[in-house]
Amino acid sequence: MAATLKDATAIVGIGQTAFAKQLPQSEKELACRAILAALDDAGIDPSEVDAFSSYTMEETDEVEVAKAIGAGDVTFFSKIGYGGGGSCATVGHLAAAVATGQASVGVAWRSRKRGSGPRPWKNTAVQLPTPGQWTRPFGLLRPADEIGMLARRYMHEYGATRDHLFNVAMACRNRANENPAAMMYERPLTREMYMTARMISDPLCLFDNCLETDGALACVIVSAERARDCRQKPVYVHSVAQGLPSQHHGMVNYWNDDPLSGPAWTAARHLWKQADFGPQDVDVAQIYDAFTPLIPLSLEGYGFCGRGEGASFTEGGALEIGGRLPINTGGGGLSEAYVHGFNLINEGVKQLRGISTAQVPDAATCLVTAGEGVPTSAILLRA
């Protein structure tokens, strides 16, 4: 019998800073504050941290963080590539490290000043080599343009409409309106606002895009055995997966046989194979929403509905509290904060602790996904 990660580790601490368009602190300070908050939540002294994981796009590295928070000797560290595709894999890597005895207290984090900082797509020197040579000269410049291309095709093939995308934006905004920490708290969205909003990359309008945010989040992972003695109710890491499909090409998934079945499908197969339950047993989901079309694509990829049914799945309030699959209960990247999806991880933990501002009654299982459209990752959490 091979070793399994199933429920071998748990998230026992979560922390976050404020979310805003502009925060005065540096990314490094925000990272340290979020990490220390998460350790305090867990009741674990920073000197016990011996593992770190974050994204390759994280500019606050583990050397600086370990020094600043006063970590002890660190025996495991990793960074996950592909922007928002890396979020859940940070937890996955730490779960594997802790489960195999490489470390005992892991911290995953993401700190970002996207609200007040530069837009990555403006750095053309970085963008232009492969595969930028095939896209950038033609004015396909930003992630919104790249995903907009898939969205248009998806709408054409399956009869999805802007109303379906609005359903996604609306569900996230409604949850943000219940979450005082969300950037869009007390800022309701209407269908008219959505339909008359300025276009960013037609067919995607302003409200199909995530928020530009300054902020940081972190979580703490320990063994299931140790978790029983921690301050908070443990949230077990039930299954983890990364996904890089055959012939995938990152953001511009245009060159494989089936551009509309992205990395979610690959991650999902492994995720469910390792799990004791299936999509029908998920009480609440936190699905990466840098752009609204990622929700129907992910609903299909993770098996909540059939191919081409993701848009119609959003109808009739299915994504709202009390609906078939409440999603992004803190408001998600569209309306809480866009910190490369890390807020979705912490929100999943809140749901399973029973402390979300939009609590799903008795939620015991939660799917959290990372960025679809790029090499991705996902975790199943259970109470």
């Binding site: 837009r119 403006k122 053309t124 020197a125 963008q127 232009l128 080599p129 492969t130 595969p131 930028g132 040579q133 095939w134 896209t135 950038r136 000269p137 033609f138 004015g139 396909l140 410049l141 930003r142 919104a144 343009d145 907009g148 291309m149 898939l150 248009r152 095709r153 054409h156 300025r198 276009m199 960013i200 990359s201 037609d202 067919p203 995607l204 012939q247 090409h249 511009v252 245009y254 060159w255 046989d257 551009p259």
Partner: protein, 162 residues
Amino acid sequence: MQTTSTPATPAAPGTTPDELLLPVPDEDGAPFWEYAAQGELRVQACAAPACGKLRFPPRPCCPHCRSFDSEWRLMSGRGRIWSYVRPHPPLLPAYAAQAPYNVILVELADAPQIRLVGNLVTSPDAPLDSVDPARLRIGARVQVVFTETGGTPVPRWVLEKS
């Protein structure tokens, strides 16, 4: 965005004098752009006799048979619009000046699984926003043309005359 024609100010690397982005080929992609300079749309193909499959973007070895032998096969230059977007600002200044423009994804008539990003224009040298958006349609038949921008030939697309 103010543009000057002062020749003493060289364009930033990787951009045309009017600051549109130029392709920066890598070693595998270079032949595509060299053929484009001759007005030819060619796609990399496996040169192993038993395989011969096309692949895009170019890469060192065939994902089907792992042969490192490749050739560049001439395409008819005909295709169909698979999808499109119309970017609006915020954009890089040179693109914002022409926005909203179209970016199309063309599936080649000879090889529908090969899809090229490009622009639909009314003529080879026309601006990015030269085609009436009402004419953009998934499935529309298009034909490749080439324009020289900043000394680099770039493929673009015009609607095929029916």
